[in-house]
């Protein structure tokens, strides 16, 4: 399996806080990778470094063999890296449709007609097609989350970074969403990276999981290996399982 994205010795400090402290990670084609870890582990910061919103203090980001550490975010998006934000950041006074059309037009470099077609497809997939003409501001919280997801998927990315995709969702929805993520990961032949809050429920959909803690990857393996790891249980899952 070929490596699509490689993070190499990346460190990012905020003052004295080591948000990332030497992270090295390969992400392969057609792989659904789960990054798990407690609050403040550095997951969002890792995504920010991959998408270019933050420059790392050390290390490199390689995309299809190319060093993109210095490339601005919009170039990375045009190269096929898409991202759904942890807390939805939509264009609230634009329609649901327009929110997603935007990513097709620019990130996906499609024309307006194809963008609209593509967005309708994706909105159907996540069940938002009836709200296509609604203002994004009028959506419920889970719907906003779904639109955030749809916007990233719509541009047909090669790398899809989903930050806390099931956080705040009702437990019953977790399986639906993870099935969807799985389907997209396989169907569209793109690399998907997800990180999860409903960890135990969601992580089994991944091909591989890594455990991030205090800016370092401490455990890596199949989802069940990572879930059953002693350290993971101690510092992270202990309180969840009780």
């Amino acid at each position: 399996m070929s490596v699509v994205l490689r993070v190499e010795g990346v460190a990012k400090y905020f003052g004295g806080i080591k948000a990332l402290d030497g992270v090295t990670l390969d992400i392969h084609e057609n792989e659904l990778l789960a990054i798990i870890g407690p609050n403040g582990a550095g997951k969002t910061t890792l995504f920010n470094v991959i998408t270019g919103l933050r420059k790392p203090d050390r290390g490199r980001v390689l995309y299809m063999g190319r060093d993109i550490t210095r490339a601005p975010p919009y170039k990375r998006a045009q190269m096929g890296i898409a991202r759904a934000f942890q807390i939805p950041r939509l264009i609230y006074n634009a329609s649901v449709m327009d929110n997603a059309v935007l990513s097709c037009l620019f990130g996906g470099k499609m024309d307006l007609n194809n963008s609209k077609k593509r967005v309708l497809e994706v909105l159907k997939l996540v069940g938002l097609e009836k709200k296509a003409n609604e203002l994004a501001a009028n959506l419920t919280s889970p719907e906003k989350k779904l639109l955030e997801f749809a916007r990233a998927v719509a541009m047909k990315p090669r790398v899809l970074l989903l930050d806390e995709i099931v956080a705040g969702m009702p437990p019953a929805e977790v399986d639906n969403i993870m099935n969807l993520v799985r389907k997209i990961a396989i169907g569209e032949k793109i690399t998907v990276v997800a990180m999860v809050e409903h960890v135990i429920r969601a992580v089994k959909y991944a091909d591989r999981a890594v455990f991030l803690h205090q800016g370092r990857i401490l455990v890596e393996g199949s989802p069940s290996e990572v879930l059953n790891n002693k350290l993971v249980k101690e510092v992270y899952l202990g309180e969840i399982i009780e």
């Binding site: 950041r89 264009i91 620019f106 003409n133 009028n138 916007r151």
Partner: protein
């Protein structure tokens, strides 16, 4: 969505209609040409200014500079070329030169300044006015602090009837064309790919950037368009006055007036700023002829009332607090 779209088309038709009514009015009643010019001048100013402010949320306090540059460009064209070329060519070259002057300055200022946040950009552009004035007053070609007076050049090369033609016909044609151009460009921006990009950048620059939009590129585009349209207005004013003086050209005057129009009309839309331009111009015209000297006082009161009623208004421009609401995109 359909409603919004319909509104957008309607607003284009209405806006063009309004300007054509003024053109018609002027050709039927030439005695009103002064007043019509005055009103269309402020329509154009409000719309041109709004193309930058409304679509990006950035305020350029140095906007007057672009009007000044348009004036100087037209003056240069007359001073340098009137002896060898006919007036139509000199006018045309003056218009081209004004877009060149304003385009270059906007490009230089924007390429650096538009990487800053809105508030810092606003502050930096106040410096621009002073800096450019200093530069112009120091150089002979710009006429130093005495400015450039072109009436003599026009009379000696073309005769005095051309003085009237340029100041009444050509100045009016230029300001009318600028108003129409501003309307068409605003409409285009509201409905195009570029418009999508600007909307996204205005609402959340990091998100826009994350989805493939180069923020500086699009902000720069809006800035340059707005600057060049401003220069056309300034070039027209030069033909009206046949002179440009740095003290007046580099005052904050037109920037503040444009801000008041935007304050009345709202940003990023077409019909509202246009109507605001008409309201502002009519009121100013009325006040300067009926109550000369009082217009400033009355405008101060109007601004205070508006700010009182919409306290988030002015601060919003500076702080991006006033993010567009649902109503804003419907009331195009």
């Amino acid at each position: 969505m359909r409603l919004i779209l319909l509104n957008k088309h309607l607003s284009l038709i209405f806006s063009l209609l309004i300007v054509f009514v003024f053109i018609l009015l002027r050709s039927i009643f030439p005695e009103y040409s002064q007043m019509v010019y005055f009103i269309v001048f402020y329509i154009a100013l409000g719309l041109a200014f709004n193309i930058f402010l409304g679509f990006t949320n950035y305020v350029c306090f140095g906007y007057t500079v672009f009007l000044a540059l348009g004036g100087y460009a037209m003056a240069h064209s007359i001073k340098w070329l009137a002896s060898s070329l006919n007036p139509v060519l000199v006018f045309t070259i003056g218009v081209l030169l004004s877009s060149l002057y304003a385009g270059i300055v906007a490009l230089l200022v924007g390429a650096i300044g538009l990487r800053l946040k809105e508030t810092y950009f606003a502050i930096a552009t106040i410096g621009l006015t002073q800096g450019l004035r200093f530069f112009i007053e120091g150089f002979r070609v710009w006429g130093g602090s005495e400015g450039l007076i072109v009436a003599g050049d026009i009379i000696s090369n073309y005769g005095s009837e051309w003085l009237t033609t340029l100041s009444i016909e050509y100045a009016d044609i230029l300001v009318f064309s600028t108003a129409v151009l501003s309307i068409v460009i605003t409409y285009y921006l509201l409905n195009s790919r570029t418009g999508y990009a600007l909307l996204a950048i205005r609402e959340d620059e990091e998100v826009a950037n994350s989805f493939g939009i180069n923020p500086v590129k699009y902000k720069l585009l809006a800035f340059m368009i707005s600057a060049i349209l401003g220069a056309f207005i300034g070039a027209s004013k030069l033909l009206k006055d046949q002179a440009v003086f740095p003290a007046e050209a580099f005052s904050l005057g037109f920037t503040l007036e444009a801000l008041v129009i935007t304050l009345i009309g709202g940003k990023g839309t077409l019909l509202f700023p246009l109507i605001a331009g008409i309201l502002y111009a009519s009121l100013k015209y009325f006040l300067t002829t009926i109550l000369p000297g009082f217009q400033l006082l009355i405008f101060a009161i109007i601004v205070i009332v508006i700010v009182e009623l919409f306290p988030e208004g002015i601060m919003g421009w500076l702080k991006k607090k006033l993010r567009g609401r649902a109503i804003e995109s419907i009331l195009i």
